[in-house]
Symmetry: C2
Subunit: 417 residues, 2 copies
């Protein structure tokens, strides 16, 4: 029996070019079989590590289930969904990840004690697919989203997986619903992978069952008026993230508590919250975006700065892309460092503040026009330049995303099988 297991594992490694640790897991699995653990019997290999695109099954929607596609000019963020969705279950008692499926878009049925409904055992990602000027559909840097999603899973006690397998499944989903990718450069297809703990037991503990699903929605601009800059509300009595917490993971728990503060901002006539941290009122994030400041230092040098990844900051894909692009341009200094409100005020008073903007997948780049802070409104001159940096960044990212030229960050959905 030991020989059989070894032979099986070796042949399997050769055939599938998997890593050796997979073989080790497979041997371990055979041991489990010998010991009579029934739930492992039906599995050819250990599926603790990941689900597999090669096992994906697809059930297409019936013609009567297909929905009408909206007019591109009417698209709002996250209101309309496509005809299909992706899902795959994880059940520890059944050996781990199950077979992935693409099915017609449908409601999710959950036990009322499911951990996601009580203890926020949940995380998500957001990325986009774009219909390029050449007709090809591309995703923007999905590998970075997959890395971050696995880090969020670890933070939530949920199972990790091989991100390249989910990318392949998402590609297939987008191919099936490809007519939902807007034929417009102002629009795109927002992709929302989500991982939730579905154990139907009360008690704050690791969820031994999970559901990973992905839904798609055609989207226009994230903010209602996309030509407008945003006014921010900064109140140091609210804190988004803190050392020793999970503010650098895309876990649901980072978002629910922000809604009451966002409502307060709206009542104040502002569009977004500027999240401060600490007694020195460090600038950390804006709404659900990273934040950048572009200014002139005392020696007359231009500097682009953003807060460092110190545990309080979500490691944004657009954030990282902006830093890399600016580095390639080599035209000004780039700093990842703490920025305080006092510094922003001083720069503004000394006319050395050029621009402030948020960055994120939903909005790409969002210019900031003012900050309400401690009872006064600080005007930010982002919109007062003829060739602002924020717009140059936005246009460069758009050009990559919509395939104006080939770029490794824009990955055609049919290129990764």
């Amino acid at each position: 029996m030991a020989m059989n297991a070894k032979q099986c594992a070796c042949r399997w490694v050769l055939q599938h070019q998997h890593k050796l640790k997979q073989a080790a897991r497979s041997c371990h699995l055979k041991v489990k079989e010998v010991l009579g653990i029934d739930e492992y019997r039906n599995y050819e290999y250990d599926n603790e590590y990941t689900f597999k695109y090669s096992e994906l099954t697809t059930t297409l929607a019936e013609p009567k289930q297909l929905r009408a596609k909206p007019d591109v000019s009417e698209l709002k963020f996250g209101q309309i969904f496509t005809d299909h969705m992706f899902k795959v279950f994880y059940h520890k008692a059944l050996g781990g990840w199950q077979k992935p499926e693409i099915i017609p878009f449908e409601n999710i049925s959950l036990h009322p004690a499911a951990k996601v409904l009580h203890y926020a055992v949940e995380l998500f990602e957001g990325l986009k697919a774009y219909r390029g000027v050449d007709g090809k559909i591309r995703m923007f840097r999905p590998d970075l989203n997959m890395q971050r999603m696995n880090l969020s899973a670890i933070g939530s006690g949920l199972p990790t997986f091989d991100g390249s397998e989910l990318i392949k499944c998402m590609n297939r989903l987008i191919q099936i619903d490809q007519e939902w990718v807007p034929h417009s450069e102002a629009s795109s297809l927002y992709i929302r992978p989500t991982l939730i703990g579905v154990d139907g037991t009360l008690g704050v503990a690791q969820s031994e069952s999970a559901l990973l699903f992905t839904i798609l929605c055609p989207v226009g601009a994230y903010f209602d008026d996309k030509n407008d800059s945003v006014a921010l509300f900064a109140d140091p009595s609210y804190t988004r993230a803190w050392p020793g917490g999970c503010g650098d993971r895309k876990m649901g728990s980072n978002y629910g508590p922000t809604i009451r503060v966002q409502r307060k901002a709206l009542r104040k006539g502002c569009q977004q919250v500027l999240w401060l941290y600490g007694e020195d009122h460090q600038v950390t994030e804006v709404g659900t975006m990273n934040i950048f400041i572009f200014y002139v230092n005392e020696r007359g040098e231009r500097i682009l700065a953003t807060p460092p990844l110190n545990g309080l900051i979500l490691p944004g894909v657009v954030r990282q892309s902006i830093l890399q692009m600016a580095h390639e341009w080599g035209e000004f200094q780039i700093q990842q460092r703490t920025i305080t409100m006092n510094e922003v005020i001083r720069l503004q008073e000394e006319n050395r503040l050029l621009e402030m903007f948020g960055s994120g997948t939903a909005c790409v780049v969002s210019p900031i026009s003012s900050i309400e802070y401690l009872g006064r409104i600080l005007p930010i001159p982002t919109m007062e330049h003829s060739k602002p940096l924020y717009n140059r960044i936005r246009e460069q990212l758009y050009a990559i995303q919509y395939g104006h030229f080939e770029h490794p960050w824009a990955v055609p959905i049919d290129s990764v099988y």
Copy 2:
């Protein structure tokens, strides 16, 4: 039309003895009707404020749907649920709270974009019903849970309601499933009211639809071995709550991020996490419990202390009850104040530390035997006294809960209609 509305409102106030503001809302509603807002047409009065027990409908489970009741000795926490559940929807577009229902226990069907699944728009409560020595079933201080639930709803941007209406609905649910209330003084019926945001739209924003549901489970001890004290793991690199956050609300977002730390504690051979805060390593909570310290000060006086409700601490019902009981006893000092790890260590070293224990609905009172902190294990002498305070508190609370004598904190479920 204006006259009719007024007459209607007045008759309604007299008949139902509701507050005048309800009547004002009702008039307002009639104005909406005149203006032709269709969704208000079917409602006799404005249901923005609360749902009503008087509108409760009940669908009993078929005999074949009834589940076998478990043996009391095998009960674990939160594994088995009763035959029925309570639910009521809130839809802003339909005027607010809908009609409440008791139905057979069933899965919840959610849109895949439901805000609870992505942004942790969710909160819960935990309380218990006890079968007393006189056969009567009592809930323990449900009014306090209702107050806290409404505060959590405000923190989550979810709708509030009249807590006395939910208590009446829960009473009815428990009456229907009364045979599930264990006939044992070691056990009880755990009640889990939950409020989730169910809007099927992406975007971090207030949920305009919500579902309030309540499920019941017969429970034994919260910890596997109820005679055992707990060993704690205290690591200052993890923070549960922080100023400007929502750590004092029973929102799901406070729990998901704790699971990874709880797992670390288990790997260290500890049962629970002792949550520290700040550079002086303040003792804040233990697992999902409040914490108490009982010690002798330098003048030889006995003091019971617990951290203050400064925004970092969940305002526990058992915590408040312990403080009130100790105040009535008048035998030692009671303090709500900051407690640091340095103080705990000094008290232990000077043999002035008597006891430490956690308090919460699930466990009632849980004695602490050790704390692993900065690489050393600090023994806590809670179990080394012949008549420990924690046990006196526990027995007093049990006596109230199981109706050994009449007490206003233990409310019979048939007394509040």
